[in-house]
Symmetry: C2
Subunit: 302 residues, 2 copies
Amino acid sequence: MKNLNRVHLNGLRALEAAGRLGSLQRAADELGVSPGAVSQQIIKTERQLGTTVLERTPRGFEPTQSGRLLLARLFAGFRELDTAVEAAAGQTETTLTISVAPLFASKWLVPRLSRFRKLHPDIRVRLEATTELADPDRSDIDLALRIGTGNWPRVRVEFLLPQEVFPVCAPELAAQLSTPADLARLPIVRDTNSNLSWDQWLRPFGLSETMLAAGDTFTDAGLCLEAAIAGQGVMLAWQTLALDAIRSGLLVAPFRERIRSEFGYFLITSATRREAKKVSQFREWLKSEIAASEEGMETAIK
Amino acid sequence: MKNLNRVHLNGLRALEAAGRLGSLQRAADELGVSPGAVSQQIIKTERQLGTTVLERTPRGFEPTQSGRLLLARLFAGFRELDTAVEAAAGQTETTLTISVAPLFASKWLVPRLSRFRKLHPDIRVRLEATTELADPDRSDIDLALRIGTGNWPRVRVEFLLPQEVFPVCAPELAAQLSTPADLARLPIVRDTNSNLSWDQWLRPFGLSETMLAAGDTFTDAGLCLEAAIAGQGVMLAWQTLALDAIRSGLLVAPFRERIRSEFGYFLITSATRREAKKVSQFREWLKSEIAASEEGMETAIK
DNA sequence: TTCTTCATATAGTTTTTCTATATCGCGGGG
DNA sequence: CCCCGCGATATAGAAAAACTATATGAAGAA
């Protein structure tokens, strides 16, 4: 791209516009400057190129023989840039990019997204499912949905709902559970990566994790959920993970009690960027969806 | 092209270079500025686009998902511009554009050009054969060769050789001519557009145009020449027009006497532009060619 | 730790670009 | 014929942008 160093890009654009439109005035209108500015740019650029591109006629100018080829190429190049910018800028208006943990995406967000699409058909959602928290100031994401304590620096953090944990299991196993103490008789499926502990839930009942049986362990809560559905044991789950499985009857929550973990769900947006309309629209939808979800939770657990 | 108004072209270029090269330092090298300048351009452009194109990583940055498409398009666009500039600038160095009258081109210049090509194989000659004098400051021509009095404003004018007129005719007719007075017995072919007059040539012999016979007239000296070669009459010709025909025996000049017309051959170049090497090379070749031509004239006439 | 390597923030300067005028050349209309 | 208007260009001053040279900060390497 070194050849572009010998000319000024704005001069090339002035040249192209003038050559295409055939008049300084029209070129100036397109570029949003005065005709004099265009004239200066053209003269300078022709000097930089070492050739005359526009032959001056009494009533204006028209391209020289050798200039035609250059102008055609300039046109092609600038058109390419123009559509690139148009697409990029258009995308920022119509595409909502959300960073979200894969499990939350698949178990809760994605099944509900079709309703958002119906509500805002002009917004295209792009999910970026990653385990690390993306910085909305330093990436192209418009917002992130994350579980955590809410202490993230340099971003705008908005609390959505607390994470509440409770045991779930397949219906067949649930029949054997009438009190929390019965949990000791059943295998437990555990997520080794989780930082939730059974103690939190058991303590109010005067129980502790040491009384629980061993069971399969997995490195991913999603796998745990599959195992629980398959009847391999009881799992300590939380709302967004288990709700849909409970509703469809694949799982049951044998006990009403839900305990708040130290974590919560948060909506993360840029602290510096002005909030786009698409973001506030999504937030609104998200909150209503969460409310509906919580309501559904109450009735699902009975 | 209106979309390009919302961003700065140089910013797009900085973005493209940084995205392609993966580092501010390398981008800065390509653009010929400091890394800080590139950083500023990128930040500003991303703000203008409303999206993050380059995701900052601990060791630099790399394109975001949505940025890749933009970068690819920017690359295509700038590459187009780059090759356009390269071709245009390269052409100015290697292509010599000459404006010349069609008749002079076909009867004198073109038959000799192959020797120039042999002498300077790297220069491509482009002849623009037009009847109007092109302005070397306002068109893409590097030089013009014109017949005239030498009074052209705002250009650099260099005298090459005087136009000298003399009668020519087919060999069969020449046999009937031993003195200028014999011309009265033969038909004369005339160019109605010419401003040369037989009187100029006849006066030294005490003769005048009134004594000449009528004959065919044409609107173009080239057609006259063809008529003379075909034996339709005697023509008042000049060196560059008739030399090659005389040498090849198609025509003869029955009299040694040549009379200078009021016109001459001139080399016209820009008065303001610095002279390119290719131009001086052409001038040098042209002068040697003219000298050889004049010498050939002497021997051809005998 | 400390060093190095990046990117970014900041301040001030330099350069460019722009606007607003005046000028010039040409052609059409009175 | 002269004058007017149109369109391009020159010029001067003002405005804006870009650049350099720093400092800062964050993260990996020694």
